[in-house]
Symmetry: C2
Subunit: 359 residues, 2 copies
């Protein structure tokens, strides 16, 4: 029986994608080889590689003035690569802090140059996206960095800042969950393991003009231009992860594209938020109303004992990954693109039932 | 029909490994999830992760005084991470140059400090492992770096240098192909995509004592100690690639371990070298006798036209990946652990037949 997978990442992958990967795992495209056994310089693999690139461009409406790269090392490596490449000596990297991953990005940038925090909601345990920031004083800015969705706290940016300096976003946990205007950003990055496929590949979408401003003397493999020049084939890419990414992107297209997926995500998250909002305070959302995430729904129960009981009964009913992160406590349901609506509705029903039995 | 896969990397994976991965791709260990969908913090995944670690330790006889890490970024990222962590300001990184990958490792090290070439066979198109080096003058050495097997040129170290400074080896293309004495090395690294599994994971085996000498102020994700402290789970690891690695290691164990695999590899390479050596000069080996690789067999034919014809007919007979690298020309057969003996014997037969028909 298929689990109701609410893992925060690595997370659910669409069942039809897994079934297709299974079917062709030993013999890809009649090559007599697995896709994992293909040379990354072969025509068969290059088709996979380029299909992933063009599907992502199509689905997100990425203009030709942007590069799409497939790298390794996750968002954690981007935290270092970005300042290494784009934080110039006499400039400042600006940050709006919305969670633990913003903190990690800031920490690494500090090793490479000047940084400044424009706003932070840390004092309120990151329960909302900071709104009280001014972009007036950022002329010395190399870039402005935001985290578009905060997996741990269950918050998400609705309206991105309109910045006069290059805007960079870590979209690891919400890329492709809703329509975005790519042209607002100079660089977007995302580890694949939430909405895009398995862990092991990182997507980078970057404005060509911005890429040209990069520092010199960056180690070859950590230099974005290396990967641009080589279509992400400078060294051996994680071929199987990119293959899975291409299948997931095809699946998103088959669903009707990002617009349609967004609508389904709103219904999915809506079902669970509704169970919270109609619980007479039994469940409490961690995120404030204006910052609620479509992807990670965080909530607490009246006490520790009920939380434990809830997680135990949920487990017995085949719900996986509902324990909250220790810094928030309570529960978290990650409702990434691949989590079926049916799973979210089943969870909402279970939440209602549990409340009725334990209020 | 299964191809005779002689790809240089990504390369053949054992068929039983692929079949097992296929079988459990949608439902791993009765979790109702794919192994790709498991949280990297879950018990089910941790068992996979730790099994890969302990099997590698068992198969290579890695002592407890060493760490085993699973990283991302391939050997190319190690080229930067090694000098970043271990090339101290007042010291020199020494290199013995045996091919294009040695050159890449040297190039990156130069960005971080002093380097010195102890020996090189570049003048002879790297057709042998340099032997004319002296380790007398290396007291200022941070480390000595070698490439244990040279995929492009088809050469391999037989006897490793006995160095008084830490010895570091890029074993990407021959790890696990034969028994080695790990204790000769302070650090061994290898991209998985030749002998260990799919691309996307890099194995690092490092002496704890050596790791303690690392520089400070290294970016978190590029700092080996980050990964040591977190059992390679600091950030989301490439879970599926590590799962495949664990299956490949299990397969090696089932074959009878590294000693047995080495014996089979000697028979496999022996069959092809024999076809070269008994061809009356029709096939010429690129590597000199004393430096021949067990893993990559490089040879040329009398002329360009015959080379093309050979590759064309080979393709028709289901042999994949036999074109040589442009810097050597001719042909190359990569006979990694997962390439069956039968495939090597079939290639040797075909080589004999082709020579008879075209001499």
């Amino acid at each position: 029986m298929r689990a109701y997978n609410f893992n925060a990442g690595p997370a659910a992958i669409p069942l039809p994608v897994l079934e297709r990967a299974q079917k062709e795992l030993v013999n890809f495209n009649n090559t007599g080889m697995s896709v994992m056994e293909l040379s990354h310089r072969s025509k068969d693999y290059e088709e996979v590689h380029n299909k992933a690139n063009s599907l992502l461009r199509e689905l997100l409406g990425i203009p030709d003035t942007y590069e799409v790269l497939f790298l390794q090392g996750g968002a954690s490596l981007q935290f270092s690569m970005i300042p290494m490449n784009f934080l110039q000596e006499n400039k400042t990297a600006h940050f709006i802090m919305s969670g633990a991953w913003s903190e990690k990005a800031l920490k690494e940038a500090k090793m490479f140059g000047e940084t400044r925090i424009l706003a932070s909601s840390k004092e309120e345990n990151y329960k909302h996206i900071p709104k009280d920031y001014s972009l007036a004083d950022t002329e010395d800015g190399a870039y402005l960095h935001i985290t578009s969705n905060n997996t741990i706290y269950g918050t998400q940016w609705n309206e991105y800042p309109t910045s006069s300096i290059p805007l960079i976003a870590d979209m690891s946990s919400d890329i492709l969950c809703k329509e975005i205007d790519v042209e607002k950003f100079s660089l977007i990055y995302a580890g694949a393991q939430k909405n895009l496929g398995p862990s092991g590949v990182t997507v980078v979408i970057a404005k060509k003009e911005f890429l040209e401003t990069a520092n010199e003397n960056v180690p070859t493999i950590l230099n974005y231009s290396t990967h641009v020049k080589n279509n992400s084939l400078y060294n051996t890419p994680p071929t199987f992860a990119i293959y899975m990414l291409s299948l997931v992107l095809e699946w998103v297209k088959e669903q009707g594209g990002v617009k349609k997926v967004q609508q389904i995500n709103e219904e999915k998250a809506g079902a669970i938020y509704s169970a919270i909002d109609h619980s007479n305070g039994f469940y409490k959302a961690h995120a404030t109303d204006d910052s609620r995430s479509l992807m990670n729904i965080t909530f607490t129960l009246p006490n520790e004992e009920l939380t434990k009981k809830f997680l135990q009964e949920a487990k017995e009913r085949n719900f996986i990954g509902l324990a909250g992160h220790r810094s928030v406590g309570g529960c978290r349901a990650s409702t990434y693109n691949a989590v079926p609506k049916e799973a979210c509705e089943a969870l909402a029903s279970f939440m209602n039932e549990f409340r009725d039995n334990n209020k």
